[in-house]
């Protein structure tokens, strides 16, 4: 039965989809409900959360490579006192290369916003948005290499294939726009090990992230000339051919779905370029994101595309910083050396676009129910790798959240006086995931999927919602 119903909505196109989204919201009951299982025939149909959600969509800004917390959000004056001297305690057993001597940050910090949040001088634009940020300084993770750490930050697991955060959200909630992919990954260069980071894994294929690697041609397989009259004529003939084939096979909904998919494809040809393209944006908006300006152009485009997509109901957009005007890298923020040259370049490339994104979302009334996440797979050692570099550091680092349901202008948790271990308000990756699901109206312990003989969760067997940062 539900198949037919779904096809009905499918065939009626977008008008109804918006309505379905509204209905889904209206159906949120007072009591917590289990997640509505998706309809296999219409897997992206929007579904109500378990309980009223503060956030409806997510933008995850991923600084691939591991941004240095002690240079960006977590100032440590103690490192100045100990500059060039060894840390006064034993480092954990799990290290890659041994870094010994303390390396103070070469940059100054200012205190910004009403609560005086610490933000490095490398982020002058973002500093002005300090009152939107919920800075989490007690992050910690388990893996010290990019692949394992990126996988954990995205899927909760360090080695094996598991569904990504975006896939779980899409599986739980569907998407409000079924003519666009529900989970879009914008990354001009492959971050870490690539597709496993946005994999649906054992969840149905409909929940995989759709990669946009080529910003100039974000949607694959569009005709060069756009949809033409000749093509319309072709499709009409195809429909006739398929209808002839359908005679005697009317009961097969898959055949009908495939006919409908051609109609949707034809509309996508017209609508997707508009959704992904930036042509319709004003000069002022483009400027706000730094689009068209050398160093900020690429990431500005990525951020502006993210806003256009969430605005159209895409559930999750993940924006990887993997390319600047000068460099393309799977780990752009991986400063083992050349910290003084590369970190400012990365900050310059992302600062204005990110601040622009927050400003723009707020101006459009979207920030209140859009959760923005910033961070990488880990931080970097407070000790120097050589004199101008830092090693990987999962033991204590910084991420920030903004918008949908989190407190703004807040700094939560802390690392020790050296910036080494998270010591207060510790937030493990699993806790972050539990919190993101919570903000989206999902109990992380009850969003499960049975596979290979057991129920799997994003947070495996752990995860605690960080209540202190909820608005």
């Amino acid at each position: 039965m539900h198949r037919r119903h779904a096809l009905h909505t499918f065939a009626n196109g977008f008008g109804l989809l918006g309505l379905a989204g509204l209905l889904a919201d209206a159906r949120v009951a007072d009591a917590r409900r289990p997640i509505t299982p998706p309809d296999p025939a219409d897997p992206l149909a929007p579904r109500p959360p378990m309980y009223p959600a503060k956030a409806k969509r997510v933008i995850f800004l991923f600084m691939s490579g591991g941004p240095s917390h002690v240079d960006l959000f977590d100032p440590k004056p103690k490192l100045k006192d100990l500059a060039g001297k060894p840390l006064p305690f034993d480092q954990p057993k799990l290290v890659r290369t041994k870094t010994v001597n303390c390396l103070p940050s070469p940059w100054k910090f200012g205190r910004h916003g009403r609560n005086g949040a610490d933000v490095s001088e490398l982020f002058p634009h973002l500093a002005k948005r300090a009152d939107d940020l919920c800075i989490i300084r007690g992050m910690w993770a388990d893996n010290i290499n990019h692949n394992g750490a990126c996988l954990q930050m995205n899927t909760g697991e360090q080695a094996f294939s598991r569904p990504s955060l975006g896939s779980w959200l899409l599986y739980g909630l569907g998407s409000e726009n079924r003519s666009l992919p529900g989970f879009v990954v914008v990354s001009p260069s492959q971050p870490a090990q690539g597709a496993p980071l946005w994999s649906n894994s054992f969840l149905p294929a409909a929940y995989q992230g759709t990669l946009v690697a080529n910003l100039a041609k974000p949607v694959e397989n569009l005709p060069d000339a756009g949809a033409t009259a000749a093509q319309r004529k072709q499709l009409d003939a195809l429909k006739r051919l398929n209808q002839l084939h359908q005679a005697g096979r009317e009961e097969d909904t898959a055949l009908a779905a495939r006919i409908a998919s051609y109609e949707l494809a034809f509309r996508m040809q017209a609508e997707a370029p508009e959704a992904f393209g930036l042509d319709g944006e004003t000069k002022a908006t483009k400027e706000l994101y730094g689009v068209g300006d050398g160093p900020t152009d690429i990431f500005g485009r990525q951020c502006l595309m993210a806003r256009r997509l969430v605005e159209r109901g895409v559930r999750v957009v993940q924006v990887y910083h993997t390319q600047t005007a000068k460099r393309s890298s799977c780990q752009l923020w991986d400063q083992h050396g050349s910290l003084k040259a590369e970190l400012p370049a990365n900050c310059l490339a992302t600062d204005k676009p990110i601040a622009g994104l927050l400003t723009d979302l707020k101006a459009r009334g979207l920030l209140q129910d859009t959760l923005v996440i910033w961070g990488g797979e880990f931080g970097r050692t407070p000790t120097g790798e050589g004199t101008d570099g830092r090693e990987h550091h999962p033991f204590g680092f910084t991420m920030w959240l903004a918008g949908g349901g989190v407190k703004g202008g807040v700094t939560h948790g802390a690392t020790d006086e050296f910036g080494w271990h998270a010591v207060a308000g510790k937030v493990h990756v699993h806790d972050l995931h539990a919190t993101v699901l919570h903000l989206m109206g999902i109990d992380h312990e009850r969003l499960t999927y049975r596979h290979a003989g057991r129920d799997y969760r994003l947070t495996d067997v752990s995860g605690t919602v960080v209540k202190e940062i909820l608005a």
Binding site: N143, E220, N221
Partner: protein, 898 residues
């Protein structure tokens, strides 16, 4: 709660007085105060107190109660609030309850039955689980069907008052069976030959022809490759360029295809993949034995990890998982952290099996902490003779890492290289520390590097020096060779090695006579990895009147361009002959140089953690899966015995699992619809007797897959039409009674191959390294699959994701597939070639339309279709024909099998 004695085993069935005591006093306390956190929903600390089994198993820290000894029982200590752990955490129990539990422990914890204390599912046992019972060939159900298979199917249909579908027409049948067995459409000539063949064995002959076609292995081998989580490359960043990638994977793919085509008996097929390197094989098959173990090597275990113990644990886990799911149909990996909650598989079973894999290796070493490990490349024959050629390092860089005085000379690819620290201070850069006034050389990814002295005149010299690894943070040390090249001969004077981060001396006691122009070379050789081998060279040649010192001479006058300063040079040493064929696969013994080197049993990893070890478990096989006199592991890793155990004729799982898979690939669904989970949570078979009938026959037939195909395909059940009887369809919408042939979409490979076949461009060449060019006319099974890349055609049409075994592909219908078929140049180009083929066909427009239909759909057009075609191609232009041909490619019928 650690380090306690194991529990005394309790006899089941407690005396009535104890039962009453348990039911009235103990159970209420457990239910009210304990099972909320230690029950079926939550198992805090890994502990369950809702069953006796849970209590006996204890928690993460080990047993919690010692029968008869309350004082030694952590549980009692905890409820007394006497130690670090205080339970229940929200308030101490009343003294009376504490006394009850203490008394219960001193009685030996009598528990009258093992019913959960508060409901919940009951763990499956070997006795109950259908799939672990022996295969028993059942007697045939009564009926008039000639084929025994149909008797089983019809019996169930008839019992429900339903009937099977009528036979499919011949055109439909040949298209069905040709796609099914070869993944390609039948040609118009093949269709006509079959349709007009009046002989009663036309259909059996057709099956035999298709099974004999090499295309059969390309189709069915791919089904197995899905289960083997096969990929051609792990990661697009290193595809084809690093030994961290599975550079030899394609040989495994070719072996699988060859095995299917040769109808290698399935038991041997399994044995080869688990232990082909150690099986007693004839010499000619030994390379195949090694290649087949690629099954164990191509796993997805997360590559680069500094935590090498975790890496090794993850690799063994991947191997337990792939053997468990793909061959046994059991989700053994669940037992990595805790006893399987539903199936009779314990953590002991898991680590008994994992020990076999910990005692094998697929890596030459664990790799540097800063990177992933290299993959083992096992030579498949003797290496070709090596000849050496010197190439000068030509690219000079001043001020490496911004340090004036630190100069590098590099080969065009970056390495090999030479670096000179002319400063008076230690140079620290990247992961390297170079002392002041030193010169270091570094080998390259595909070549060694040599410091060469060319004799300016004839004489005698004494040779000595030291080599030091300046990069101890990573890498695996170096080997060296001191040699003398004189007019056409190359003589080795001495060899040795230097461990990572260490130094060593070399030299020669006696004088060496040299002629003018002779070369004395110190060759620095890579080991498994070339990375992090920055090697400081002090090399002195003392002659009668003059002494040459490499580092000092070099620093005194660094060469301006290429790395050459009379009489010194630093040269790349290239092995010219290509390396011999090699395979990614498994070998005996744990990873060399790791804590698991050699063969040994493994301790239980508590909660799956290698840093919390429990009991040592002898290597062996899951106890609940019974075969007659299972093999014991006496020598080696145990893979040989595992291979033997898996393929015993009386194994309850291996034959059932594979015949179910074969059924599934023919019918879209298996008799068991959870094909890799024959456990409690899997679905039971729709027709258990039929499954056993097929399994028993399969083993009797020598585990021949081709005989099994033939048997199934000759049944009336396979030859039914897809339309089916309306009443049957209504009563059985999911086709669990097999009363019709299930219509289904073609797989990605079959779609792309059909485009090439119909356009007349398909290149039938078999095997070889994976093809990167999507526009290639090769069959899709030979196109490169990269684990890190889920973009493009394959994933769009639901090709298997190689991060885990895939037993059943999803079938999605999404608009981007339509966009691909509408607009992708590959499809448009095939349509153009198809149109050219049609236009080249002699005849009228109607005859050409007929030809196009026969090519694409295996039948002539209906009148209505012909009319539509005539309307669209009426102007007869190539563009109009291309449009029509493109349309046929997009038609539902083109992509749907029925």
């Amino acid at each position: 709660m650690t380090g306690l004695l194991s529990l005394v085993a309790l006899s089941a069935g407690a005396p009535p007085a104890d039962e009453r005591f348990f039911e009235t006093k103990v159970r209420p306390v457990l239910v009210e105060k304990c099972v909320g956190c230690h029950g079926d929903k939550k198992q805090k600390g890994g502990l369950r107190l809702d069953t006796r089994a849970g209590l006996l198993a204890g928690g993460d820290g080990g047993p919690v109660a010692v029968a008869g000894k309350p004082a030694d029982s952590p549980l009692v200590k905890a409820i007394r609030y006497a130690g670090d752990i205080k339970m229940p955490p929200d308030g101490k129990l009343p003294d009376a309850d504490i006394a009850v539990l203490e008394k219960w422990v001193s009685l030996g914890m009598p528990w009258p039955d093992d019913r959960p204390a508060a409901g919940g599912p009951k763990a499956g046992t070997a006795k109950e689980l259908w799939s672990l019972k022996p295969v028993v060939d059942p007697s045939l159900p009564p009926g008039d069907a000639a084929h025994p298979l149909d008797r089983f199917v019809h019996a169930k249909l008839i019992a429900k008052g339903l009937k099977p579908a009528p036979p499919a027409d011949r055109r439909t049948l040949i298209r069905r069976v040709t796609f099914d067995l070869t993944g390609l459409p039948p040609t118009p000539a093949e269709v006509e030959a079959f349709v007009t063949d009046p002989s009663p064995d036309a259909y059996p002959k057709l099956i035999d022809r298709l099974l004999a076609s090499p295309a059969y292995g390309e189709r069915w081998g791919r089904h197995w490759l899905d289960l083997a989580r096969y990929c051609d490359s792990f990661d697009a960043r290193i595809t084809g360029t690093s030994d961290m990638d599975c550079l030899d994977a394609w040989r495994y793919r070719d072996w699988v295809i060859k095995a299917f085509n040769a109808d290698l008996p399935y038991d041997r097929f399994v044995r080869m993949q688990v232990a082909g390197d150690v099986l007693p094989l004839p010499d000619k098959d030994r390379p195949d034995g090694i290649v087949a173990t690629g099954f164990l090597a191509l796993g997805n275990w997360g590559g680069g990890d500094a935590d090498k113990e975790k890496l090794l644990t993850d690799i063994a886990d991947d191997q337990v998982d792939v053997v468990g799911r793909s061959i046994l149909g059991l989700t053994l990996a669940c037992a990595r952290c805790h006893d399987h909650k539903f199936d009779p598989v314990s953590t002991r079973d898991y680590y008994a099996l994992a020990g076999v894999f910990f005692s094998s290796h697929i890596l030459p070493n664990v790799g540097p902490k800063t990177n992933g490990p290299p993959m083992l490349r096992i030579p498949l024959g003797p290496p070709p003779p090596a000849t050496a050629k010197a190439v000068v390092l030509a690219k000079r860089t001043d001020a490496v890492a911004g340090k004036p005085g630190l100069i590098a000379w590099q080969a065009p690819a970056g390495n090999p290289s030479c670096t000179a620290n002319g400063t008076g201070a230690e140079a620290v850069f990247s992961t390297i520390r170079m002392p002041p006034k030193t010169v270091a050389v570094h080998p390259g990814p595909g070549s060694d590097v040599a410091v060469v002295w060319t004799a300016p005149a004839a004489g005698e010299v004494k040779l000595f020096g030291t080599l030091a690894d300046y990069d101890g943070n990573c890498g695996d040390g170096i080997g060296w060779e001191l040699r003398h090249a004189t007019a056409g001969t190359l003589k080795t004077l001495a060899t040795g090695s230097v461990e990572n981060g260490r130094s060593g001396t070399f030299g020669r006691a006696e004088l060496l006579a040299v002629a003018a122009g002779d070369r004395v070379e110190v060759v620095i050789q890579r080991k498994a990895g070339y990375e992090c081998d920055t090697t400081g060279v002090v090399f002195t040649l003392a002659g009668r009147d003059k002494t040459w010192e490499f580092a000092a001479d070099w620093l005194a006058d660094p060469p301006a361009g290429a790395a050459k300063a009379d009489p010194w040079s630093v040269e790349e040493v290239v092995v010219q002959a290509p390396p011999g064929p090699s395979a990614n696969g498994a070998q005996e013994g744990g990873v060399p140089g790791s804590p698991h080197e050699g063969t040994h049993d493994i301790k239980v990893h508590i909660r799956g953690r290698y840093d919390r070890l429990g009991d040592l478990v002898p290597r062996g096989f899951p106890a609940a899966v019974k075969v007659a006199s299972p093999p014991g592991i006496t020598a080696g890793s145990g893979r040989k015995e595992l291979a033997d155990w898996l393929t015993r004729p009386d194994h309850p799982l291996t034959p059932r699992v594979i015949v179910n898979r074969v059924w599934q690939f023919h019918f879209g669904e298996g008799l068991v619809r959870t094909p890799s989970n024959f456990g409690v949570l899997g679905e039971p078979p729709t027709h258990p007797e039929l499954l056993d009938h097929l399994a028993a026959k399969f083993v009797r037939d020598g585990w021949s897959l081709k005989k099994l195909h033939r048997y199934i395909l000759l049944s009336a059940t396979y030859q039914q039409s897809a339309a089916g009887d309306p009443a049957t369809r209504a009563a059985d919408p999911d086709n669990r009674l097999w009363g019709r042939f299930p219509r289904r979409r073609l797989e990605a490979e079959a779609i792309r191959d059909a485009l090439l076949a119909v356009s007349g461009e398909l290149d039938g060449k078999a095997g070889g390294p994976a093809v990167r060019d999507f526009a290639s006319p090769r069959r899709t099974v030979y196109l490169m699959t990269i684990r890190s890349d889920r973009t493009g055609f394959g994933p769009l049409f639901d090709m298997a994701d190689s991060t885990a075994p895939v037993d059943k592909r999803t079938v999605s219908t999404v608009a981007p597939q339509a966009l691909f078929l509408m607009n992708h140049p590959f499809v448009r180009d095939r349509a153009k070639a198809f149109a050219a083929r049609v236009m080249g066909h002699a005849g009228t427009t109607a005859e050409r339309l007929d030809f196009a239909h026969r090519l694409a759909l295996g039948r002539p057009p209906t009148d209505a279709e012909r009319e539509l075609g005539l309307e669209l191609v009426k102007d007869g232009t190539p563009e109009a024909w291309r449009g029509w041909c493109h349309l046929l490619f997009q038609a539902n019928e083109f992509i749907v099998l029925e």
